[in-house]
């Protein structure tokens, strides 16, 4: 290859070497130089020999480049096709999960039966707790409701549905839930149910809960995992926020999810 660059001088120098010494150079060169030596009559011949090599080589390079581009293009196309298929499979899996996973059948604080499909098309911020909670549940619900209010104040954003699900179905009846949620936000929806229904929804959302020992007043505290869950309008679990996140941080995150959301169910 490098010989090409120094071509003019090289021919001249090579012409003094023995033919056999040039056997190892790239095919074309050796042939050329031998011809040069054999037909040592004048520059005319060498001129005639050297010219076809230039464009010939260029053509070869061009063909190689085109072929390479073709191969590269085919590879990229195959990769894109594979990626597309993978996306379709994932969308299909998500669609199935959206319908089946995380479903629940509970009763709201006005006595209406509710299941997950009722919230299709809405963003939902969900918190699990109990009404006899000393401080954590009121704090987290206050934070959740602050997020809802912040987002309500912004024009162009869809409303977020706040939901409070009890992990203490024994004491948190419909009436108890109604009394509790009114203190936080007019749209805060309380959900309760039978022990089995609450167990089922807690399993779906991986919420741990365990009622503590009862005291003389039959009062007890329920130990439970603390998190605020975000569900997308497709009903899919989208994000969760621990106790450490502030209302502003949660609102920012919800806003970001809203901006990038694309429904897979319609």
């Amino acid at each position: 290859m490098l010989l090409l660059v120094w071509a003019p001088k090289a021919w001249h120098r090579l012409s003094h070497l023995k033919p056999s010494a040039l056997l190892w150079t790239p095919g074309g060169k050796a042939r050329h130089v031998r011809c040069q030596l054999l037909s040592s009559q004048g520059p005319g011949e060498t001129g005639r020999q050297s010219r076809p090599q230039g464009p010939g080589l260029r053509t070869r390079l061009l063909i190689t480049a085109l072929f390479g581009t073709g191969l590269g293009g085919a590879w990229l196309a195959a990769r894109a096709e594979k990626e597309h298929r993978r996306q379709q499979q994932r969308t299909e899996a998500l669609r199935q999960a959206a319908v089946g996973q995380g479903d629940f059948s509970l009763v709201d604080h006005q006595g209406q039966a509710r299941c997950k499909a009722d919230f299709r098309g809405q963003w939902v911020l969900m918190y699990f707790g109990f009404t006899h909670c000393p401080d954590i549940c009121p704090d987290e619900l206050e934070k959740l409701v602050q997020v809802v209010r912040q987002l309500e104040a912004e024009p162009g954003l869809p409303p977020v549905q706040p939901v409070f699900i009890t992990v203490d179905p024994e004491r948190d009846t419909v009436a108890a839930m109604a009394r509790y949620v009114q203190d936080f936000h007019p749209r805060l929806l309380g959900l309760t149910g039978s022990a089995e229904q609450v167990a089922q929804v807690s399993r779906s959302y991986r919420v741990y809960y365990s009622a503590g020992p009862k005291d003389e007043d039959q009062d007890y505290i329920v130990d439970h995992s603390i998190a605020i869950y975000l569900l997308s309008p497709d009903g899919l679990f989208t994000d969760y926020y621990s106790r450490a996140r502030s209302a502003e941080q949660i609102a920012d995150s919800v806003r970001r999810h809203m901006a990038t959301f694309r429904s897979i169910l319609d």
């Binding site: 006899h132 000393p134 003389e216």
Partner: protein, 79 residues
């Protein structure tokens, strides 16, 4: 027993905070804060009082721990 309403919760938290403030000022000596203690006990359900007492213990322990006042115990001959 019905759950405390928001007002009752806030009364309880206020009494708790006053009691804790008194403890802070009196180096955890409960005998100096008897009045606030009884006010605290009357504002909150018993379960909550137990819960808040444990929480207080935990918070104090955490303070001490973060200030480095706990040393690892000496290794025994076996370990």
């Amino acid at each position: 027993m019905a759950a405390p309403s928001m007002k009752e919760r806030q009364a309880c938290w206020g009494a708790r905070d006053a009691y804790w403030k008194c403890l802070d000022e009196n180096t955890e000596d409960p005998s100096r804060c008897k009045k606030l203690r009884s006010s605290f006990e009357s504002s909150c359900p018993q379960q909550w009082i137990k819960y808040f007492d444990k929480r207080r213990d935990y918070l104090k322990f955490k303070e001490k721990f973060e200030a480095g006042q706990f040393q690892p115990s000496k290794p025994t001959a076996q370990s």
